[in-house]
């Protein structure tokens, strides 16, 4: 049975809750809560992507587009029209779902390489739109003056406040997704991954499930984008380029896409690698990413989350 145990989840939640206090006391990691905000934002995207790619087996190389749609909808509506950020966040998610349906219905009929390239092309097209529609998006320079969030007068005006907000969302989404995985819907998704023919012969509406999970991943990416825009108060297109989609792929490949924990592990590691640990490498950063992908596909096909399983199998022999 695909059981996701509660204990690691509780431990993880406690660590997340107390971490800012620890960081306050240790100067060397004083900036980590800031990084953790980004890690949390990426987790939101990778959790959806893990469900889409790891569980349902559908490849998307254009997830940066949905991240960007959320960010730009929030940014434009709040900065230019002064609308309520929470409403904009919801509008962003609706917009992302609509785009996901429009792109997903024809794309998800495709398989393998075709699906990968269709989503890749979609991602690049959206990126070009962000650059070219300067009247709305500010073009390559981006948009400034995106307001911070506030809730019933409570201002999110510090890193720690965003930290807790973002991680609240991550946990909500994580639990929701775990429930999906352990339900009939999760089984249907995993069934589609192995055999579409057998799934539909067993009564699973394959195309509907593919669309639903694609839309779900788009909504999560959009939510992440909105949070990103409000946290940084500034966005520009380069955040949402092809390389970001690839980076998301690196995250879930490294973490392990067949396990929802892999999404979290991968998002963490790549965030800290790119913002902190690879700083010394600078130019070499990109090579490190490429090597990670190669090493993982060759030696760790199940990603880091698959290591306990590998050890178990190895011991049994």
């Amino acid at each position: 049975m695909l059981q996701i145990r509660k204990l690691p989840l509780i431990v993880f939640a406690l660590l997340i809750v107390v971490f800012p206090w620890i960081a306050r006391g240790v100067p060397a990691i004083a900036n980590y809560p800031d990084l953790m905000v980004f890690a949390g934002i990426y987790c939101l995207i990778t959790i959806g992507l893990s469900l889409l790619m790891g569980y349902a087996g559908q490849i998307s190389l254009g997830q940066a587009a949905f991240f960007g749609i959320g960010a730009y909808v929030s940014a434009i509506l709040t900065a230019k029209y002064g609308m309520n950020p929470w409403i904009c966040m919801a509008i962003g998610m609706v917009a992302a779902s609509i785009v996901a349906v429009l792109v997903g219905v024809p794309s998800l009929k495709l398989r393998g390489h075709y699906l990968a390239m269709a989503t890749l092309a979609f991602g690049i097209i959206v990126f070009i739109i962000f650059n070219e529609e300067g009247e709305w998006t500010g073009g390559p320079d981006g948009l400034i003056g995106i307001p911070g969030l506030n809730l019933f007068g409570f201002q999110f005006n510090s890193v720690e406040k965003y930290y807790y907000l973002v991680w609240f969302f991550v946990f909500a989404v994580f639990l929701f997704t775990i429930n999906i995985i352990q339900s009939r819907d999760g089984r249907a998704l995993r069934a589609i991954h192995v055999s579409e023919a057998a799934s539909s012969a067993t009564g699973v509406n394959v195309s509907r499930y593919k669309i639903v999970v694609f839309v779900y991943s788009a909504i999560l990416a959009s939510l992440a984008g909105s949070l990103y825009a409000h946290y940084l108060n500034f966005i520009n297109p380069s955040t949402f380029d092809l390389f970001f989609s690839i980076k998301l792929l690196i995250m879930i490949a490294l973490g392990g896409m067949h396990d929802i924990w892999g999404a979290i592990i991968g998002a963490f590691l790549i965030t800290f690698l790119s913002f902190e640990w690879l700083h010394f490498f600078e130019e070499f950063e990109i090579i490190v990413y490429g090597l990670i992908l190669l090493v993982v596909t060759i030696f760790l096909p199940q990603g880091l989350a698959g290591i306990p399983h590998m050890i178990k199998n190895w011991l049994r022999r």
Partner: protein, 300 residues
């Protein structure tokens, strides 16, 4: 000054489009060669083109070797990279699936891109055109002599590949692998060697594309991804695995891009080819020439 008429303008777009399209066609042929033998879409295909251009810049401009030596030297270097790609990134994979192969070739392309960035930096490089840059005037359109070279090379590649696949034993063996790898290995064809060879061939063709493209459009480390996506667009347009399709697809895609950028919106230049790719995928994923009949003539 000569008056630019609409007709000559359109003719200009067509010529430019066909030239760029020839490059896409070469990338597409590279995709197909590997795909037909291995069923792998090598997403590092664009990197071969980039390396072709940049290594040629090194040999020809920095070292100062004459073209006739620098050209083959570059092709050989890139071919070696092709072999390494197969050996280091593809062959070690124990459970190849579409997804792992996509991830592996993306990983390899990023590594190559990173190395290229460290060696050549981020700035674009120019190469002297093969026969100077004095434009030829034809029906009011300005044609760079390099355009003629591009078209000529496409033709040469097509002729050589046709001869290779139809007249040589190795070529026939490769075709056999493409049709049925199990049967091929039963009759004593070394499938692994054929896979290596397919990577060599498509790396070499990529290198040629890069060398002849650079005098027209410059070259920098970061161009590979877009070239690969557009090359794949040409592949899909013509039908996956089909060589005539790849050429037609490349030329059509280049033309669409050129007219789109000229007549509609130059900022969306890159988007047109991708929209065309999506349109074909959504409407007729088997491509313009793709059908049961075409799979039979997928070789020249």
């Amino acid at each position: 000054m000569e008056k630019i008429t609409l007709a000559s303008q359109l003719f200009q777009y067509l010529i430019t489009g066909l030239t760029v399209g020839s490059i896409y066609a070469m990338v597409a042929i590279g995709f197909n060669i590997i795909y037909n033998v291995t069923e792998i879409i090598n997403l590092a295909q664009g990197e071969f083109v980039v390396l072709g251009g940049l290594i040629m810049v090194f040999f020809h401009v920095a070292v100062g070797l004459p073209i006739l030596i620098a050209f083959p030297a570059t092709v050989i270097m890139v071919t070696l990279v092709g072999i390494l790609l197969d050996r280091l990134a593809i062959r070690p994979i124990r459970q190849p699936s579409v997804l792992t192969l996509i991830i592996a070739t993306i990983g390899a392309s990023i590594v190559i891109r990173g190395i290229a960035m460290i060696i050549w930096g981020k700035d674009p490089f120019d190469l002297p055109a093969f026969s100077g840059r004095t434009p030829i005037n034809l029906l009011g359109a300005v044609i760079q002599p390099q355009y003629v070279w591009v078209g000529g090379f496409l033709l040469v590649i097509v002729v050589l590949l046709t001869l290779f696949f139809e007249k040589t034993i190795i070529g026939k063996a490769m075709s056999a692998c493409a049709d049925n790898p199990d049967a091929a290995s039963l009759v004593g064809i070394n499938v692994k060697q054929m896979i290596s060879l397919s990577f060599c061939l498509s790396a070499a063709i990529g290198a040629v594309a890069g060398i002849i493209l650079t005098p027209i459009a410059l070259m920098d480390y970061n161009r590979g991804a877009m070239l690969a996506v557009k090359g794949f667009g040409a592949v899909v347009l013509g039908g996956l695995g089909s060589f005539p399709g790849a050429i037609l697809g490349g030329l059509v895609l280049g033309t669409i891009e050129s007219f789109g950028a000229g007549l509609i919106h130059s900022g969306y230049k890159d988007a047109f080819a991708l929209i065309a790719l999506l349109a074909v995928l959504f409407i007729k994923p088997s491509g313009l020439l793709g059908s049961v009949e075409v799979t039979k003539i997928k070789k020249f």
